[in-house]
Symmetry: C2
Subunit: 205 residues, 2 copies
């Protein structure tokens, strides 16, 4: 599989398929057709079949997909059959909420460190993670080789913190700040500023 | 402008252009070329010019775009020259963080009501919003015609709450839950489950 030949939009849909398959598994379903998958998702059944065809053959004509097999294959394709360490930078209201969120560890992601620059926050523990002074961030992250960071700092600090993280080997940043970050090639960036989604809604309302 | 003829991916990029233009305006810049816009964004300059061409002529060949004019045009295209009322359902850690977030009101969105089912939370005030019992939600939302909802409830309640909101006329849902929601045609849905983004990263790491 040559990863760069697979369109990014296809890769971005795989976690959505996993989410849906997980729900089907919890409902005790053994198989599912692409038509039925498409009902819940914002794609056509043809698109689902085409997306999956990038990664080999799944399911038999007219038989649908085996839920558990497809789930395991997709998890393996996305390298989710291991635990990924994550660092969180910025422990304000949102950072604290994310530290308390149970959904990461269940899905293979573990926040292992958290940093802030506020003396009132440094040293406090949230969901088992003690907050470290951000001025010591490089000493802590660089040697450990943590690949993923969640950025929940104020806008004014966002680019500087991203730069520091990247210098320490972070390869992917989940950006909660309302800032357009500049990152070098090879570093993945996902923006989940809720305002971007809200502003897309209003075009249609 | 026939809205349905404009690809959704194009519409989804406009808020990102607005974000970048806002930064340029704060830096005191008067004009910007599509090349320079593209540097910070994950698109080519040709794509930016093509996206903008859906909405009419902006800028002159070789002159770049006037930052303020383009910003105002894009804000008008996205109906952002007014304040949009938003309701928040689920006032746990994340809901509280979103209520405290200053970024919504600055961008034209105002959370005007919040609901929860926890007796310990109902009646409490966060950032000026008093939490109402979710069992009274329909009485409050239906008459007021609030178009947008933010859903931050536990997974088990997500679909039921979405259904209630839609029955009360909500036309767009920002879904923070890790659930694939089913919504009728005509209702906009954006999923910002951070795990979906993290799972896309790991394909490339």
């Amino acid at each position: 599989m040559v990863k760069t030949l697979i369109p990014e939009v296809v890769v971005a849909r795989l976690p959505v398929y996993i989410q849906r398959l997980n729900q089907l598994m919890r409902e005790g379903r053994e198989s599912v057709s692409s038509q039925e998958m498409a009902e819940y998702l914002d794609v056509t059944s043809a698109q689902i079949r085409k997306d999956l065809s990038f990664f080999g053959g799944f399911g038999k004509q007219g038989m649908g997909y085996n839920v558990i097999n497809l789930l395991e294959s997709l998890r393996s394709i996305l390298n989710l059959d291991r635990v990924w360490e994550v660092v969180l930078v910025g422990v304000g209201h949102l950072g604290q909420a994310l530290l308390s969120y149970q959904g990461f560890s269940h899905k293979g992601f573990e926040i292992v460190m958290a940093f802030d620059n506020d003396p009132a926050i440094i040293g406090q523990t949230f969901a088992g993670i003690q907050v470290t002074d951000v001025s010591e961030m490089q000493n802590h992250i660089c040697p450990r080789g943590i690949p993923i960071a969640i950025l929940t700092v104020p806008a004014a600090n966002a680019q500087e913190m991203a730069d520091q993280l990247i210098r320490c080997g972070v390869k992917a940043i989940l950006n909660y700040t309302p800032v357009t970050l500049k990152v070098p090639e090879g570093v993945r960036l996902a923006n989940i500023d809720p305002v971007l989604s809200l502003q897309t809604f209003t075009f249609y309302l």
